[in-house]
């Protein structure tokens, strides 16, 4: 079943064609369900849906490259990206894989990027594809003063 209605898919295709300045990698971290109950471990309930949705989105633009990582079989990759929850989506500029820490911080989304968070995903892809951030000059000055790592978590609820 398609997530996006044909009219919505067309809107997303047009938006990606207009907004993406370069190629982006979208990396989905999700482990397939085992069906086993293991105390202390929660199986992802939306990982498969997230994969289906992101596959649709990647099919709408040649500039969007989807990679699916199973954190159970590739824990080193999940650790490199600082993944804590399943499903997780990382967005980064194409080619920055493995070196993106030097060029940009981590951009992650935890959970199915549906509802309003679908727009957040498209915004992240747009921002990652651009050579310069769309932030106020004063904001860029302020951010350049930082010397220590900062972790920002924005808790949202899909609508």
């Amino acid at each position: 079943m398609a997530f996006l209605r044909p009219a919505d898919a067309e809107r997303v295709r047009k938006r990606l064609a207009a907004d993406l300045d370069g190629d982006v990698d979208v990396i989905l971290f999700t482990a397939p369900p085992t069906g086993l109950f293991i105390p202390g471990r929660n199986e992802s309930t939306t990982g498969k849906q997230a994969e289906a949705l992101l596959t649709e989105v990647a099919g709408l633009s040649d500039r969007v490259h989807l990679r699916v990582v199973n954190p159970r079989t590739e824990p080193n990759v999940a650790a490199e990206y600082g993944i804590e929850l399943d499903p997780a989506v990382v967005v980064e500029k194409r080619g920055s894989e493995g070196t993106s820490k030097a060029e940009a911080g981590r951009v992650r989304m935890y959970g199915l990027p549906s509802g309003y968070e679908f727009m957040t995903l498209l915004d992240a892809m747009t921002a990652a594809s651009r050579p310069t951030p769309s932030l106020l000059p004063d904001t860029l000055d302020s951010l350049s003063r930082m010397t220590d790592p900062v972790h920002i978590q924005v808790f949202v609820t899909p609508t």
């Binding site: 935890y110 959970g111 199915l112 957040t120 915004d123 951030p133 932030l135 951010l143 930082m146 949202v156």
Partner: protein, 73 residues
């Protein structure tokens, strides 16, 4: 706040920005006392509930990093 946090991370390699679905990860969210959304937590401590304009948000991020936003050096 979500897209702004992501843009901060893209502009500054020292920043990691997560957008967390509070309804999907209720146990994780409860560790950060999330009762209303959007709620932003910086370095596990500083809480911001609701939206905030870009200049105020970046000032909060600087404070969390131990930098006085009002005293440029």
């Amino acid at each position: 706040m979500a897209s702004l946090a992501h843009q901060f991370a893209l502009a500054q390699p020292l920043i990691s920005a997560d957008v967390v679905s509070a309804s999907e990860f209720q146990a994780y969210s409860s560790r950060f006392a999330v009762q209303a959304v959007p709620k932003t937590v910086v370095n596990g401590r500083k809480d911001i509930v609701g939206g905030m304009p870009e200049p105020l948000f970046v000032a909060e991020v600087l404070r969390a990093a131990g930098i006085d936003p009002d005293n440029p050096t």
